[in-house]
C-alpha cells in the first residue's frame, strides 16, 4: 500500500501558492500520491485545475482526483481536460469519479439530479472511448487514458467499477467498512469476468496537534454540513495522533488497500511535515517494490 496526501484545495480561502507548496513538499517526501476533492458550492479550488498546477511542480507523485463529481461536467470537455493533465504530468493522472452527495451542486450546475447515475455510467463509457480512439486530442500518455476509478457505496457503484473502471475509491470510514466495501467491489469484479483485480483506494482525514484537531473537526462539520448529522460522524473519525494514523493505515493495508490518501483539515504546511515525519519514522507498511504505485491494472 502507498500512502498519499490530500492537497488543502478545499480549505476555505486557501492561497494557490500554499497548495503548490504542499505539492512540492509532498513530491520530495515518502508519499505516493496527492489527492483532491470536489464540491462545487463550497469555497474551494477546482480539483482538475489544482492537479494541472500540481503537475507542473511535481515529478513523480501520482495525481488523483478522489473524487471529481463526474455528472456535473460535460463529458468531452472532461475527457480533454483529463487527457491534457495526463500529458502535462507525464502520465501520472488517476481520474476518480463519483456522484457526489450535494443536490444543490447539481442545481447550481444546471444538471439533472434524478438521472445522475445513468449519466455517470454513460460518461465512463464515453471517456474511455474518447481516450482510446483519440477522437478528441490530446493523446493521453497512459495508453488507455488516465487510470479510471469510481467511488460510491451502493451496488451500482461496484458494478461501474467492475464494468468500466480500473479501481474503486472508498469514501472513508473505519477499516471494517472499507473491508466490507472492498469485498463487494471484488465480488463485482469477478462477477463481470474481469481479469486481475481492481485498484483499491481509501481516504481519511488527519489533524496532528491538539489545537489543530479541534480546528479540524470544525472544518469537517462545515465541509460536510450538507450531510446533516452525518457530519458529526465524519468529524468524530478524524485521525489526530501519529499512532492512530499508523494503526489506521495498517488496518487498511490488511484489508487490501493499494492507495490510502490522507487529507488535511488545515492548510498549514506544518501538518504535511508532521505527516511525512510520521510515515518516515513509523512506516505502516514496508514500501512496495517498484515504486510509484500507479496503475497496476491487468492488461
Amino acid at each position: 500500500m502507498r500512502i498519499g496526501v490530500g492537497l488543502p484545495s478545499t480549505i476555505k480561502q486557501v492561497s494557490g501558492s500554499t497548495v503548490l507548496d504542499w505539492a512540492r513538499f509532498a513530491d520530495d517526501g515518502p508519499l505516493g500520491s496527492v489527492g483532491v476533492l470536489d464540491q462545487l458550492r463550497y469555497d474551494s479550488l477546482d480539483p482538475l485545475a489544482t492537479l494541472a498546477a500540481a503537475a507542473a511542480v511535481t515529478t513523480r507523485l501520482r495525481l488523483a482526483t478522489t473524487v471529481v463529481i463526474g455528472p456535473l461536467r460535460n463529458t468531452p470537455l472532461l475527457a480533454k481536460e483529463a487527457a491534457s493533465i495526463d500529458q502535462l504530468s507525464g502520465g501520472r493522472l488517476t481520474l476518480g469519479l463519483a456522484l457526489g452527495a450535494r443536490r444543490d451542486d447539481y442545481e447550481t450546475a444546471g444538471v439533472d439530479y434524478a438521472h445522475r447515475g445513468q449519466r455517470l455510467t454513460e460518461q465512463l463509457v464515453a471517456l474511455r472511448d474518447i481516450w482510446e480512439d483519440h477522437a478528441i486530442g490530446p493523446r493521453p500518455i497512459q495508453p488507455r487514458g488516465p487510470e479510471l476509478i469510481v467511488g460510491g457505496s451502493d451496488d451500482s457503484a461496484f458494478a461501474r467499477v467492475a464494468r468500466y473502471a480500473d479501481g474503486y475509491m472508498h469514501g472513508g470510514g473505519p477499516p471494517r467498512a472499507f473491508a466490507s466495501a472492498v469485498s463487494k467491489a471484488r465480488a463485482a469484479w469477478v462477477d463481470a469476468g474481469r481479469p486481475g483485480e481492481p485498484q483499491l483506494w481509501g481516504m481519511a482525514y488527519f489533524a496532528l496537534g491538539e489545537r489543530q484537531a479541534a480546528e479540524g473537526r470544525d472544518y469537517l462539520l462545515d465541509y460536510y454540513a450538507f450531510t446533516g448529522p452525518f457530519a458529526e460522524r465524519i468529524a468524530g473519525a478524524l485521525l489526530t495522533t501519529p499512532q492512530s494514523i499508523v494503526q489506521f493505515a495498517r488496518a487498511y493495508a490488511e484489508a487490501g488497500c493499494h492507495h490510502l490518501v490522507l487529507f488535511p483539515t488545515s492548510a498549514d504546511i506544518d501538518q504535511l511535515h508532521r505527516l511525512t515525519e510520521t510515515i518516515a519514522t513509523k512506516p505502516p507498511v514496508p514500501p512496495r517494490e517498484g515504486g510509484q504505485g500507479g496503475s497496476g491494472r491487468a492488461r
Binding site: D155, A165, V190, R194, P195, A298
Partner: protein, 726 residues
C-alpha cells in the same frame, strides 16, 4: 426541563430513570394506560446476556436484573422426536413482570413520577420540553406524526401464539412437530425457576387447515397441548389473553420530530425468534440518556441518539428478518436429516458461522462433520473425526468429486483462434495440483461467433480437443480433481473487446454478426443481433452437441451448459430479452423450448455417468425480469431433462440491471434453488476463505463452492484434515 414519557414498558421506564439519574433537577413523568401489576406475555429473553452499557448506565438496576436472570448456554431442538443440543451460546431470561417491577421501583426511588391507568393523548402534550414515546408497536404518538416518522410495517406470514408452561427448560428449545395439517414449531425458554415461555408458530395454511382461525383462547390452548402432549409429558400450557398473531416488522425513517422521540417497539421491532426486542428497548434508553449527558439541547441530543443507535438497531433487524423468513419457509427444509436441519437452524441469520460454532461447541461441529461425511462419502470408514464439509467428497451424477472446492483460472486474455494459451493451461494445472475438487474453465465457446471476445477459449476444432486432452491427462496424473468445462454461446454479448478493457465494449474492427432470441442490442448503441431462425437454432444445437463430443473425447469430467448472464441460451429464458412472437415466447415452457432442446442434445452425447451441469441466472435483478421463483421452475424442467447440478448466478441479463453483490443474497439463491427444486448447486457467492464455505455446505445451502483466488499454493496431503487452506 419537563419530560413526559408515554408507555411504562422497559424502554419508557428505563429511559426515565436514566435521565433522572443524570439530570436530577428534571421533572420526569411516566404515563401507563394499564394497571401497575398488569402484564401480558410471559418471560423475555436476551439472546446475548451482555446488555451493552447496562452496567455503566445504572449499576443498581443492572445488579437486580442480572441477579434475576435465568441463564443458559444451550440450544436444544426436538426435530420430529430427534433431540439435538448445541452448547456455548449465551442466553438470559427474566419474567416480564419482574423486570417491570425492578424498573418501576428504581424510578420511584429516583423521583420519577409514575401514573398508571391513564391514557394520555399525545396531541394533548404540548407543554413538555421532551416527549418520549415508548408506547409500543401501535404507538399513538408515531401515528400522530406519521409523515415525520415515516413508519413502514411488514406483516409476517406465519401465525403465532404466546403461552406459558409450568416446566423449566435448561436451554432455548425449538420443537418441530408435524401433524395432518402440516408443520408447527415451538420457541420455548425459561424465565424463572418454575415457568417457561412457550410460543407456538405455524404458517397460515396450516393455521387455517387446523381451523385455528375459528378457535378461541381455550380451544387454541387445547389444540397445542394435544399436539405437543408427548413433549410436554404432563406439563400444562397456560394462557394469558393469548391469541394468534402475525408478527409486524416495523421500521421508521426517523426516530425524532421536534421534541418528540420514539423508543423501543414504537420505533422498530425485531422478530421474536432472535430474542432481541427487550434488549433493543433497554439499549435505546441507554443511548438516549447518553445523548442527553453530552448536551441538553433537545435537537442535537436526539440527532446524536439516532446517529449512534440506528446502525446497531438496523443490523439486529436485518438478522431478525432473516430469521423470520426462515421460520416462515421452514417447510422447504422438511427433507433435511435432523443434524443438517439443526445446523441450518443455528446458522439461519448469517450471524453464526461454522467457525463460531466450532468455538462454542467443538463436539457439535465434530458430530456434524462426521454426519456430513457419512451422508456423502460412500467410501467413508467409521472414525472419530471427519474433515470439514469442504473436504468431503460429493457423489454427482455417477461421479465422485473429491471435495467441494471449485476453483477457476483468471479469465483468458491470451487465447488465439479459441486455442487456450500455455499461460491459462499452466494455471489450470497449478490449481488442480492444489486441492480443488473441481477445476472450472468458464466460458468455452462452442463456435467462433459464440465467443465473447477474440481472446476467448473455444471448443469447436479438433486442435482445441487435443490441447484439452493433454490437460486432462496432466490433471489426472496429478490429483483427483475433475475438469469442469462450461460450454457457452455469447449471443448478443459477443464480438467485444477483451475484458481487460472493460465489459461489453464492441470490437472496433474484426467483429462478427451476432444472434440472440430477439433483435435487441445488449449495450446501448451496441450492435443489433439477428433474431434466431429455426436454421440458426439447429446449427447452434449441433454446435453444443459437437463441443460435447469433443469434450468427451478429451476426457473432460464435468460438462456445463451456460444458460446464464445474458448469453445466448439465457436470452430465450428471460422475458426482458425474449420478445419473439413464435413458439419460443410466452409461457415458461415456450421460452425454455430451445434451451431444453440444447440440453437434450448434449445429454444424448454426454454419458450418464458423467455429470452435466447448467449455469443459470437465479434472478435477472431487473424490473420486469425473471425472478427466483421463475428460476426454481426452470430448474425443475432442467432436472427432469437430466441436469445434475446448477451453477447459480444472478444479474447481467440486461445491461441496465440493478446488481446485488451481497453474500447473503447469493447464498439465499443457492439455498432456494437447491432445496425447492431438490438439485445439487454450486454457489458463486463471493467466497475467499473456508469458513463461509463450510457454513453453507453443512447447512445444506449448496453442494459446491466457487473459491476465489489468490489460489493457495498448498499441495497438501490427500489424507487427514486440511482446514488451513483457501
Amino acid at each position: 426541563m419537563r419530560v413526559e414519557v408515554l408507555g411504562g414498558g422497559p424502554a419508557g421506564l428505563y429511559a426515565a430513570l436514566l435521565l433522572k439519574q443524570i439530570h436530577p433537577e428534571w421533572s420526569l413523568t411516566v404515563h401507563e394506560r394499564n394497571p401497575r401489576d398488569a402484564t401480558y406475555g410471559w418471560g423475555v429473553v436476551f439472546s446475548d446476556r451482555t446488555l451493552t452499557g447496562l452496567r455503566e448506565a445504572d449499576f443498581r438496576t443492572y445488579d437486580e436484573i442480572t441477579g434475576s436472570f435465568v441463564l443458559w448456554e444451550a440450544i436444544n431442538a426436538d426435530i420430529h422426536g430427534t433431540l439435538l443440543r448445541c452448547e456455548g451460546h449465551a442466553f438470559a431470561g427474566i419474567g416480564r413482570r419482574h423486570l417491570l417491577n425492578i424498573l418501576q421501583d428504581r424510578c420511584e426511588e429516583l423521583g420519577v413520577a409514575l401514573r398508571f391507568e391513564i391514557e394520555v393523548d399525545p396531541a394533548g402534550v404540548t407543554d413538555a420540553d421532551l416527549l418520549i414515546a415508548a408506547d409500543g408497536v401501535n404507538s399513538r404518538t408515531r401515528s400522530l406524526y406519521e409523515p415525520a416518522f415515516g413508519p413502514s410495517v411488514t406483516m409476517g406470514r406465519a401465525r403465532y401464539i404466546w403461552f406459558g408452561v409450568d416446566k423449566t427448560y435448561d436451554s432455548f428449545t425449538f420443537i418441530f412437530k408435524e401433524n395432518e395439517h402440516g408443520l408447527h414449531q415451538v420457541h420455548a425458554y425459561p424465565f424463572n425457576g418454575t415457568t417457561s415461555t412457550f410460543i407456538v408458530e405455524c404458517d397460515e395454511a396450516v393455521w387455517l387447515s387446523a381451523g385455528l382461525d375459528q378457535a378461541d383462547e381455550a380451544a387454541s390452548l387445547a389444540y397445542c397441548e394435544a399436539l405437543f402432549a408427548e413433549h410436554l409429558a404432563g406439563s400444562r400450557l397456560m394462557s394469558n389473553r393469548s391469541a394468534w398473531l402475525s408478527f409486524p416488522t416495523l421500521t421508521t425513517r426517523r426516530w425524532s420530530h421536534d421534541s418528540v422521540v420514539i423508543l423501543g417497539d414504537a420505533a422498530h421491532t425485531a422478530h421474536f425468534s432472535i430474542g432481541s426486542g427487550t434488549k433493543l428497548a433497554l439499549e435505546d434508553a441507554i443511548a438516549l440518556a447518553q445523548a442527553f449527558e453530552q448536551t441538553i439541547e433537545t435537537g442535537p441530543a436526539l440527532r446524536r441518539f439516532e446517529l449512534s443507535r440506528r446502525p446497531r438497531v438496523e443490523a439486529t433487524q436485518r438478522a431478525a428478518e432473516e430469521s423470520r423468513r426462515y421460520f416462515e419457509e421452514l417447510r422447504r427444509y422438511r427433507h433435511f436429516e435432523p443434524r443438517q436441519f439443526m445446523f441450518h437452524l443455528l446458522t439461519r441469520s448469517g450471524r453464526i458461522t461454522y467457525d463460531n460454532l466450532r468455538q462454542r461447541d467443538p463436539r457439535f461441529v465434530d458430530e456434524t462433520d462426521l454426519w456430513f461425511r457419512s451422508a456423502h462419502d460412500p467410501r467413508s470408514r467409521s472414525s472419530v473425526v471427519a474433515p470439514p464439509p469442504l473436504h468431503t467428497p460429493l457423489v454427482l451424477g455417477g461421479a465422485v468429486i473429491p471435495n467441494r472446492a471449485v476453483m477457476a483460472p483468471e479469465p483468458s486474455l491470451t487465447a488465439v483462434d479459441g486455442l487456450a494459451s500455455r499461460e491459462t493451461l499452466d494455471e489450470l494445472r497449478q490449481i488442480a495440483s492444489g486441492s480443488a475438487g473441481i477445476v472450472m474453465l468458464d466460458h468455452v465457446a462452442v463456435a467462433p461467433d459464440g465467443r465473447v471476445s477474440p481472446v476467448d477459449i473455444g471448443l469447436y476444432d479438433r486442435r482445441h480437443a487435443e490441447v484439452l486432452s493433454s490437460l486432462v491427462t496432466d490433471i489426472d496424473d496429478d490429483s483427483g480433481a475433475r475438469l469442469l468445462l462450461s460450454l457457452a454461446h455469447a449471443g448478443r454479448r459477443g464480438s467485444t473487446r477483451p475484458r481487460s478493457d472493460g465489459v461489453d465494449r464492441s470490437l472496433r474492427t474484426g467483429g462478427w454478426p451476432l444472434i440472440s432470441a430477439s433483435a435487441l442490442p445488449y449495450a446501448p448503441g451496441g450492435p443489433v443481433p439477428r433474431a434466431m431462425t429455426d436454421v440458426d437454432m439447429d446449427r447452434v444445437r449441433e454446435q453444443f452437441a459437437g463441443a460435447a463430443r469433443l469434450a468427451l473425447e478429451a476426457g473432460v469430467g464435468v460438462l456445463q451448459i451456460d444458460m446464464s448472464r445474458g448469453y445466448l441460451l439465457a436470452s430465450f429464458i428471460s422475458p426482458l430479452t425474449n420478445r419473439r412472437d413464435d413458439v419460443h415466447n410466452g409461457s415458461l415452457e415456450n421460452r425454455l423450448r430451445f434451451p431444453l432442446s440444447v440440453l437434450d442434445a448434449v445429454r444424448a452425447v454426454w454419458p450418464d455417468d458423467r455429470p452435466l451441469a447448467v449455469a443459470l441466472t437465479a434472478s435477472d435483478q431487473a424490473r420486469g425480469g425473471a425472478r427466483l421463483s421463475d428460476a426454481v421452475a426452470v430448474v425443475g424442467a432442467l432436472r427432469d431433462h437430466g441436469c445434475d447440478l446448477i451453477t447459480v448466478h444472478s444479474g447481467q441479463t440486461v445491461y441496465a440491471d440493478r446488481p446485488n453483490y451481497d453474500f447473503d443474497t447469493a447464498a439465499h439463491h443457492s439455498d432456494i434453488i437447491r432445496n425447492e427444486a431438490r438439485i445439487p448447486t454450486l454457489t458463486t457467492a463471493f467466497i475467499t476463505t473456508t469458513n463461509p464455505a463450510n457454513t453453507l455446505l453443512a447447512g445444506g445451502r449448496c453442494d459446491l463452492c466457487l473459491l476465489r483466488g489468490p489460489h493457495p499454493p498448498a499441495p497438501s496431503p490427500r489424507a487427514g484434515r486440511r482446514e488451513d487452506r483457501a
